[in-house]
């Protein structure tokens, strides 16, 4: 059901396809969530868009019999659904100062006034020094 004529005799590429899809889906989500959350005036719109994309992708998975496409889209769809949740988690990081707020975004500007821990500085943008160092940015 999941195999086609392109499959080799001794090598099984489904694990490799799954690994590459997982790696690049996580990378894309990691970057996209941070970028979109930073510039979006609301988080519910991107949350709904990513949820819809995730559900749509999983729907295609259910009606696709191609073994590699089925695997890749299955992983991509679930990653998109997890990214939808990540918008809220990223906003919480902004509130705690664990990710930099964008003062040009009205939602972030409000967070900066309401949460003393929020900051526009990216505290993670440096090399490790090997000792506790809250003062080094």
């Amino acid at each position: 059901m999941y195999r086609d004529q392109g499959r080799g005799i001794s090598m099984n590429f489904i694990g490799m396809v799954a690994a590459l899809t997982a790696f690049f889906s996580v990378w894309f989500g990691h970057v996209a969530v941070r970028k979109i959350e930073s510039i979006s005036p609301t988080i519910w719109i991107p949350t709904i868009i990513f949820t819809a994309l995730g559900i749509l992708t999983e729907y295609f998975v259910l009606i696709t019999d191609h073994w590699l496409l089925n695997t890749a889209l299955g992983i991509l769809g679930i990653t998109l659904l997890f990214d939808a949740l990540e918008f809220t988690r990223q906003q919480n990081r902004i509130k705690k100062g664990h990710a930099p707020a964008n003062p040009d975004n009205p939602r972030h500007a409000k967070i900066l006034t309401e949460y003393p821990s929020a900051t526009t500085i990216d505290l993670l943008e440096r090399e490790p020094v090997g000792y506790p160092s809250t003062m080094i940015h």
Partner: protein, 110 residues
């Protein structure tokens, strides 16, 4: 209806979820300079998946490999988080073999 991809997607999410404690505990106990070894373990898992004929097992091993490779790119930032006090800091980490050579390489971060 073909549920293979959907189940694989959920399984992938669970395996990637293992990556969080892997990075946190790995950095705390060993330090971020172990990143080349973590990356190598991941690549070996992915290569091994090529030789597993069972599709389910091949996918799980491949995704586990991807989790290790991704985790290796997260170790440096996790080290900074621990230094900032967001996670417990351990000063007595186990040093990696070839530490002086690894220190000269730029640790990956995506």
């Amino acid at each position: 209806m073909n549920y293979f991809g959907l189940i694989i997607g959920v399984a992938t999410l669970l395996i990637i979820g293992l990556g969080f404690p892997l990075v946190i505990q790995g950095e705390r106990r060993f330090g971020y300079l172990w990143w080349p070894y973590m990356m190598l373990i991941g690549i070996m898992f992915i290569i091994a998946s090529l030789f597993i004929q069972n599709d389910w097992l091949s996918v799980l091993v491949g995704v586990l490999g991807a989790t290790f490779v991704w985790g290796s790119t997260e170790l440096k930032e996790q080290a900074v988080r621990a230094e900032l006090g967001w996670y417990p800091f351990n000063a007595n980490k186990i040093k990696p073999p070839l530490e002086n050579i690894i220190k000269k390489w730029r640790a990956p971060h995506l």
